[in-house]
Subunit: 328 residues, 4 copies
């Protein structure tokens, strides 16, 4: 499905080399002040330009084509378009016969029986995340003063990230990374277990970000190595604040009033300049394979704001669910 959310719902569309990528937000309340400039801070964090990011340059100025009037949202579906302007002319069709290593070329061609748009990954492209970040901008406004922020804390196994990126660029290789995210100020009691636990909803959206292969909350995988006497967070205030935060602010699938903490693992980008092994489906033979073109050596550099967007979108949706006890 290309929509997500129960009350605050987003629908993505567009392809990497099509005319636009975009998002329609259904369920955004009326009256939210919004200008095209509001998107620039977050979009610039996602934009390429730094060493280790692709040479593709997109201005990423949103066109707001519905749900917006006199500088405010109207309550009707809010649609944002981002034109694709810097599209290269490589012919991607050969990748149906010789799928690019690490890319979805084979699986996607099977799934859509060869009719999918392969250019730049088509729909399965990181390009789509520009629309996700834009939806995140709206979501962050709606959940204020909740503050969501994420950082790249490791790349390719190194905590000296600049050095790691430079090495990868030099080798024509790519590297993955770890992104840590925190949401401060989330009220106690959000989340809808059994199935819509906060972890369930967040991981659902986080794992839709291309390249995410792991998600953990609080102590996460380390918790598997801990004892209860170590892991259990002791409450130390009437508001439920805990001394440690191994639970990452979520207990029983519900927020507990502490900081929401999560970590996301990103695999390295699939496209590299190094020669790799590939398989020719026509000849049924293995062969050496080298990609040209413009690619991210470390797209994890651009990902923290995408992770923030995903977290903010889930929190915005949860914020609209009623917590009501009848008076009688």
């Amino acid at each position: 499905m290309n929509s997500f959310g129960r009350i605050f719902r987003i629908q993505l569309f567009g392809e990497s080399h099509g005319p636009y990528v975009g998002v329609t937000i259904d369920g955004c309340p009326a009256g939210l002040a919004l200008t095209v400039d509001d998107f620039e801070d977050d979009l610039s964090r996602r934009r390429s330009g730094a060493a280790g990011t692709t040479d593709r340059q997109e201005p990423d100025v949103p066109e707001i084509i519905s749900g917006w009037h006199n500088g405010r949202t109207t309550g009707a579906p809010l649609t944002l378009l981002f034109a694709n302007k810097d599209v290269d002319s490589t012919d991607y069709e050969p990748f149906r016969a010789i799928p690019r290593p690490g890319h979805a070329d084979f699986a996607a061609s099977k799934k859509w029986q060869g009719y999918n748009d392969l250019r730049g990954g088509g729909y399965l492209s990181g390009r789509l995340t520009v629309a996700l970040v834009a939806a995140g901008v709206i979501a962050k406004k709606l959940i204020a003063p909740i503050n969501v922020y994420a950082n790249l804390i490791m790349a390719g196994g190194s905590y000296d990230i600049q050095e790691a990126v430079e090495a990868a660029v030099k080798e024509g290789d790519s590297i993955g990374g770890l992104i840590e995210c925190c949401a401060q100020g989330v009220p106690c009691g959000w989340g809808e277990p059994f199935f819509d636990s906060v972890e369930s909803l967040l991981s659902h959206l986080l794992f839709s970000i291309p390249g995410v292969k792991g998600v953990e909350f609080g102590a996460g995988f380390d918790a598997a190595e801990m004892r209860g006497s170590e892991y259990n967070d002791a409450i130390i205030s009437p508001a439920g604040k805990t001394k440690e935060n191994n639970a990452g602010g979520i207990i029983g699938g519900i927020t507990n009033g502490n900081d929401l903490l999560l970590t996301v693992a990103l695999r390295p980008a699939a496209s590299i300049k190094k020669i790799q092994k590939a398989f020719d489906l026509t000849t049924e033979k293995e062969l050496g394979f080298q990609l040209s073109g413009r690619h991210d050596s470390c797209f994890a550099l651009r990902a923290p704001v995408i992770v923030e967007a995903a977290v903010a979108i889930v929190l915005a949706d949860l914020s609209f669910l009623p917590i009501i006890a009848p008076s009688q």
Copy 2:
């Protein structure tokens, strides 16, 4: 939300100390042969009894009260009930004032304004997973010959699991664990990215299992430390088989015809016999706290079949989504 799935939909209900826990499965096709005995193998794997598991003994014989006629499913909603028979009489109400460390007592009482059933965790209890395992039995039948199996590969930091459990029991403590799961025979092309990537759907359901704090696919968190030249799986057959399987059988959010591989991190059980620190919300003071009662020292021992159920349920739902190209 307490329902999950798009075509094959499950709705859970019940509390740990209520009369029943149960599940209604909506969208199960008609004509599936089914007997009460079909559930026993999987339910026995979840059942307590081994060292390190709780003393609560439940026979877990399902009553099929709808959607079933003459030994087969009818196509109507299929409802299974499991009676709670071995319920202890501890008074849980004091835990509203002094929330048990590591439990959701505080967050849940806030969320439901004190009206939630705290007994045995109420709705937020591992007891609910008996119904999930039962739904998994149905799902496994529907996706055959796809084979889903999971194992506990580490507990409390140790690969000698028996030893680790014994040590935890002796200390009156609890331990978490790692569960590895594989699904063999999943066709290429399942998954509905952008938002319903296979990872998104699986993690959604996996993180609804009480105690899960981390989920990764294929190389997972290790991928964050790898280079593209290392991570990219090289195709070696016309069917898309790859030499390595760092992607865990999922690429671009779509299955690629290889084994689906995932790992789940479980935190240690919250209830332990050791003295812990707690907080008295009435006096607003910290205090020493010790739990009596029957508890799992290592509920991870009982969890592999629950992980299998979650994976099978997601695959069953995906199996019903059409992959159709029109003829014209």
Copy 3:
């Protein structure tokens, strides 16, 4: 689908001659006072017993098996069961070969490939509406002081309903009827057009009631014969009250603060004692056909409370949708 609703969600299950019919309500807020006796008034209005209704006698006392503790809802899924006690022993399997006129025997056997439970109509039985009425009782509590009431205003073409029923009973025939429903006190601004207009949501649930073949709002079908100058309701108060109510309280798919008015058309019951023509699928020949058994001559007599339930359930769900304008 056997679930309905976005926040206040109901899931039906059970068959006419199975052990139970029931409903799970997901999204009912915690703290609602509820006793088994609360259901009796509405269930008694649905119950048979009057002339023109079936001889099947069911006590219809709900068992509340989840989501309820200390006389109040807990916020967890609320499940109600109704035992089927007065089930007759007729063999329904012959109706696969010779489908009963006016019944779904043929279509249902095709759909579910002969595996459906035909006994008493199985899942496609008016018996299921006992669970709908029960959900309606909860919904009515939640939307108070909104007042929903419905009446049978015509039966079999006659406004002297008692006389019409007696005639039908005497002839061994059945009659349909018209039910008028009003909801007073619905606030202005409910409804989620485009697709979830109030009319859309109400008609969705109303047309799921077995036997409903027409739904209209306000002037309804008469509006097709009117001129705008006649139809348009003139506002006469600052609260938006209108002099006439041709719109039935809904304009642009949104409630406008006036009484919500709708009419439902029920076809006559399918089962009659008169000899009818049927078709033998084995011999491929038409034949004369006569039903024995216990049936409603005018189930429309029992239907007003079912219509009320449907309306109240939709309004309860709408009542939980946020209408929020951000402060900034």
Copy 4:
């Protein structure tokens, strides 16, 4: 909600006087041949121009901006935009204080707290149906050879429709109408009762069309006046064909293999040139009110193709639901 459908899902957006109205179709299979010209036949039937329709002239040429490559659908979300070109410059803001009779001005301003776009009705405008008709074009292709067709059979109480329209135009008034729709070739067994009966799904979408106030299937409201012996359709062939079709091809909420028949009642358009009574919310006084501008005297003339679209969209969605009995 502004999306509809379970597998074949549509999301509408846009306003009457905004830059575009559009639709994103999620779940459209890959490989469907599609050109911009394919839309012209249906769009021209919805287009104004005839006597009794508005003077607003829109070319209605869709821009396909996603999900389409090399003349075929790709399986990714398919987005169509329709530019609004012929927008008049009337100031609609005064209608917040003096709501136009028969329009949603009052209710919508309340709902969205004055932030909604009132121009031309904003989101609550028949203009949105251009996108619905476009989605219907796709749906019709997908369900071929099922044939859906609709006709205006009555307008303003008259069966001489041309005459009725001319009279209304002359008087500066508007008239409603009745539209009859038939779908031929629908297989037996579609529909998902209890809640997603065919009637429920169809009425849901039909009642989202602006101006629809009544929907009936088969004999519909007449069924309320019939006896069972009259109403019950006798099967006359092994394929389930019936002699009469009082059920409108739907029994137990499931298609029965006969023509699907339904009738839709449209109220007269709200905008008329005649002087009407209105209410000034500022002065709290009634006043005479006259609208200028371009309006439909009988928008029912343009509606049959919209009804067809709604029916085709529901059938397309149903066509993707599996009807499967396991082999074992």
